[in-house]
Every structure is written in C-alpha cells, then in structure tokens.
C-alpha cells in the first residue's frame, strides 16, 4: 500500500513546526495509521505543494480536515468511541480554534516583527532550497497578514496594530476556555486521544516549544499547566522525545499500532485496578469493619 505524507520538517522537539502538519501527524499516531512521512524541506515542494498533503494509492488529499475524513474512511478512526454529542462538540471546538486562536498564532509567528525576523524567517529560509529561500518566508508572511486583516479587521480600521489587541485577547480567552474544558483529564474526551486532541495539539505545540523572542501569548499559555502537560504527554507517548529528521518510511511507524494497543490495555488495567481499590476502600469502611478502618483521605 503506497502511502506518503508530505509535511514541513521538525525542530524544537516537535515532529513538525507547521500546525496543519502536526495535526495530521498526531491523528495518524492516535488512529494507528501507518504513514510514510516525507519532509518537504530543501525541496522545490516548499513553494509548489500545499502542505500537508497525503498521497494514498492513487489519490491525493490536502487540508487537515479532508485528510482526517479520508483516514476515517480508510478505517483509521480515533473517534469511534465518541457519542454523537461528543462528535458535535469536536466540530464546535475545532471552529473555536480556527476563529479565535489561529489568527493570533499567525500573528505571533509571521507578523510580529521580533519573532519573524529572529525565528520564523531564519528557520524557513534555512529549510528552503536556493533560490526559493528568498521567496518562501515572505510569501507565507503576506498570506498570514492578509488572512488576519480580511477576517478580523473591521473595515474602517485596516491597520494591523488596532487588530492586534483584539486578536490576542480573543486568543487568551480561547486558551482559558480550552483549559477549563480539559480540566484534570489527560485528553479532551477521557483517556484516549481523538481528533480534537490532534487539533489542539497541532495549534498549541509550536507555541509552547518554539523559542520565541517576544511571546506574550506563549507566556499566557505557560501559565495554563494542564495544557502544557497535555502537550508533553502526547509528545512523550506518541512521538519520540528527541527531534529526528523524518525521511521515507521511518521504522518507528511499524511499532506504533502495537504501542497504541499496549497503551489502551494499560489504561484499561489501570481503570480496573482503580475500581478495585475503590471497592476495597468501600468494604473497609463498611459498618462491620468500622473499628479497624482508617477514614479514607
């Protein structure tokens, strides 16, 4: 089965620095899909391809939502345990991420002068072949700027500085809402990750890991412990912790379904043992045993 995923390369402990690529990579791991990952760094695809791009047998699919739908049809479904309402919630939260968080992420990486000059442009320049390295970052930056202005700027104020305050405050609110929703759980819908987890991971992982010179949003995110923990858990369990250059057919891809099953089993066993412990506590605190028991803490 010939399958190939094209995406931007990785850095800063992440498998990819590009949000959409991360979403697809994370979902592939969660659902156990075996994908050969090829990075487009240093190739002409940096300017010609719309990334991420999945080549599966004869067909080509782009855009994270389309790719996830396609993988689901191929029976790599990380959402099969969700109820109908949870599926609806997934759509709603993804819309929230796109509307409220993405503009600020685009601004932080591509429009903010400090970050762009010191981090984003050098990175993309060094990962593009000559002579594309002159064009690729500038093109991405202007796309980002026009997206922000067209969707967020109110028509008499087509000036980026006035929009900045609004998009950052909306993004901080969005992060707070995500943090409230996640609470103390490992993932958004219980103990196994789903497509919503992939989307959230794709958006916040670059923000947590990138060494941004000027990152007010990053500082805000670092205060939300549960989101940082969420991101690190996924990196530790589903991706190797150290950054590796991904080329064709990475060998870890084969082990992943086994690891995922093992993980599910481990979680089930943990749940069982928690239940048994609770039953044990209940028994110990029941009337017959009251003189001997200590109250549960």
């Amino acid at each position: 089965m010939k399958n190939l995923l094209l995406c931007w390369g990785g850095d800063w402990d992440l498998p990819s620095v590009h949000t959409d690529s991360l979403i697809v990579l994370a979902y592939a791991k969660f659902s156990g899909a075996k994908l050969a990952v090829k990075s487009i760094d240093w190739t002409w695809r940096t300017i010609t391809a719309s990334v991420p791009q999945l080549h599966y047998e004869a067909s080509t699919v782009t855009e994270p939502t389309q790719i996830l739908n396609f993988l689901r049809k191929q029976r790599f479904n990380a959402d099969y345990e969700l109820t109908a309402k949870q599926g609806a919630d997934t759509m709603a939260y993804i819309a929230l991420l796109e509307e409220k968080l993405r503009p600020a992420l685009l601004h932080t990486f591509w429009v903010d002068a400090d970050n762009y000059a010191n981090l984003t442009r050098p990175w993309f320049t060094s990962h593009s072949p000559f002579p594309l390295n002159f064009f690729v970052p500038g093109r991405q930056a202007s796309l980002a700027l026009s997206r922000i202005l067209l969707t967020k700027a109110e028509s008499p104020l087509l000036n980026i500085t006035e929009v900045e305050g609004k998009i950052y405050s909306e993004a901080k609110e969005c992060l707070n809402l995500l943090s409230h929703r996640l609470g103390n759980f490992h993932f958004f819908f219980g103990d196994t990750p789903t497509s919503l987890d992939a989307f959230v991971f794709g958006h916040i992982a670059p923000l947590i890991k990138a060494p941004l010179p000027s990152g007010q949003l990053q500082k805000h995110l670092n205060q939300l412990d549960n989101l940082c923990q969420f991101c690190n858990t996924i990196l530790k369990n589903y991706f190797n912790a150290s950054a590796e250059k991904r080329t064709d057919c990475s060998p870890t891809a084969i082990h992943d379904p086994v690891d995922a099953n093992l993980q599910k089993l481990t979680q089930l066993v943990n749940k069982e043992s928690n239940l048994i412990e609770k039953m044990d506590d209940n028994l110990r605190s029941s009337p017959q045993h009251r003189p001997n028991s200590t109250p549960p803490s």
């Binding site: 997206r147 067209l150 109110e154 006035e162 609470g183």
Partner: protein
C-alpha cells in the same frame, strides 16, 4: 478604539438604564437585505427579546456604512453605537442583563465554541452561496444589494462587495470548494447542532442563551428566504428537532408578528 478606551466607555454605559428609544439598524427589509445580514439581524433581535429589552427596528439603505465596524446590524442605545452580536452581548452584560450567568465554566466554553461553529460554518456558507456562486450572485445578491442606488453606483458597489467577499473566501480557503461541498458543510453543521440540542427545549436546557438566539436567527432565515433553489432549506428541514426549536422560539418571542411570517 483601543481596548482601554472601550472598557472605559462601557463602564460609563453600564451606569445608564436601557432607554425607551433604543434602535436597531439594518438594510431595507423588502428590497435590499441579503440572507446573511438578515440572519445576523434576526439573531440580535431575538437576543434582545429574550432579555426583555424593547428595541425599534429601523431599516435604512446605508445601514452598513453607518455601522462602526461595517457590519450590520448595529444598535443605537443612548449615545452608544454597538454592532455585531458578540459586542452587543458584552454591552448588554455591562448593563446588567445576561442570559448566560447560570452557566459554569465548561458550559460557557461549550457555548462559545458552538457560536463559533455557527459563525465559521453557517455564516461563511451563507456568504459563499450569496457571493461566490455566480448564478445566485447575478440573479439575487447583486440586484438586491444595489437596489437603492442609481447607475453607475449600483454596479460599482455590488462588484466591490462581491470582490471583497471573494477575497475573504480565498484567505480562509473556501474558494476551492464547490457548491456541493458547501451544502455538505451546512448539513454537517446542522447535524452537530441537532445532536447537541437533542430533545431539550434550548441548548442549555431550560433557559435560552445567546447561542439559541444565534442559531434561531440563522436557521429561521434560511428556512424562510427564497433563493435560486431550495437545497439549503432542505438541508435544514431534514433535522426535525431544529425545526421544532425554531417554531418554539418563534411562538414564544415573536407572537405578535405571527401574521407576517411562517415557517
């Protein structure tokens, strides 16, 4: 205006009670207003009725240009002008009326997420159908949008608006979609809303919130507006609990207007 100035102004606004002569401005109802603007306007009107705040609806041809953000509808209360549902909800909250106080943090997060879903999918789909579908744009949108103006201004304004909307669609990646995919997206959005609503009377059980107002505004307008074909309305009609939701809100809050509209 900067965020600090806005906060200061809304503090002042909060001190005044709701006046008798609050007005809501929208484009002309019969000839000019389009599906997306009509939906937004109805959502705001529903929200105000749910809060029990009286408002007069005033139709003006240049409502879009009077609005501080360029979008309709906007309300004129005392000496404040506020446009779009989001800022209006915050403004009314500053005055002490709120529909979502009873929600806890997780529910509020869900409510905001669903409102973004409606804005992201339904509103964008409405704009796409109106302006990016050539047939609808030529037959309905451009003539209606430019009806109050004389030649050559009507052509210029209509094409300018179309160009603006197409640029926006391009930026968010919708220009590659065809009409079938857009209808499919609307259907998925309605399915999500239908599943979230279930058998409850409102989205957050007994009490209506701004989410209910927003969903009602969009769905009711889709159901009652005549487009070049009925496919959009059919997509919504296939979800019976959404139909009965619209009916219920219309009965509860728009009783006196019953003669002029029907689902």
């Amino acid at each position: 205006m900067s965020l600090a100035a806005e906060a200061f102004v809304s503090q002042i606004a909060a001190a005044e009670p709701w006046p008798e002569k609050a007005t809501l401005y929208q484009p002309l109802k019969e000839d000019q207003i389009l599906l997306s603007d009509s939906a937004s306007s109805l959502a705001v009107q529903t929200f105000l009725r749910m809060c029990g705040l009286p408002v007069q609806v005033s139709c003006c041809a240049n409502a879009e240009y009077m609005s501080p953000s360029g979008k309709v509808p906007f309300i004129h209360v005392g000496n404040q002008v506020v446009s779009e549902l989001g800022p209006i909800v915050q403004f009314i909250k500053a005055k002490g009326h709120s529909l979502s106080d009873g929600l806890d943090d997780v529910q509020r997060a869900e409510m905001k997420a669903y409102m973004e879903l409606v804005n992201n999918m339904l509103l964008t789909a409405e704009l796409y159908i109106q302006w990016c579908d050539d047939y609808t744009a030529t037959e309905i949108s451009r003539p209606r949008y430019s009806s109050p103006y004389s030649w050559p201004l009507n052509h210029i304004l209509a094409y300018q608006k179309q160009w603006e909307v197409r640029r926006k669609m391009n930026a968010i990646g919708w220009s590659g979609k065809n009409l079938e995919q857009v209808y499919e997206d609307v259907s998925q959005c309605c399915q999500a809303l239908s599943q979230r609503l279930g058998t409850q009377p409102y989205f957050f059980n007994k009490q209506p919130t701004e989410l209910d107002a927003l969903v009602f505004g969009h769905l009711f307008t889709i159901l009652t507006t005549q487009l070049t074909n009925d496919e959009l309305a059919e997509k919504v009609k296939s979800y019976t609990n959404l139909l009965s939701f619209c009916h219920r809100i219309e009965q509860t809050y728009f009783k006196e207007d019953k003669g002029s509209r029907s689902v």
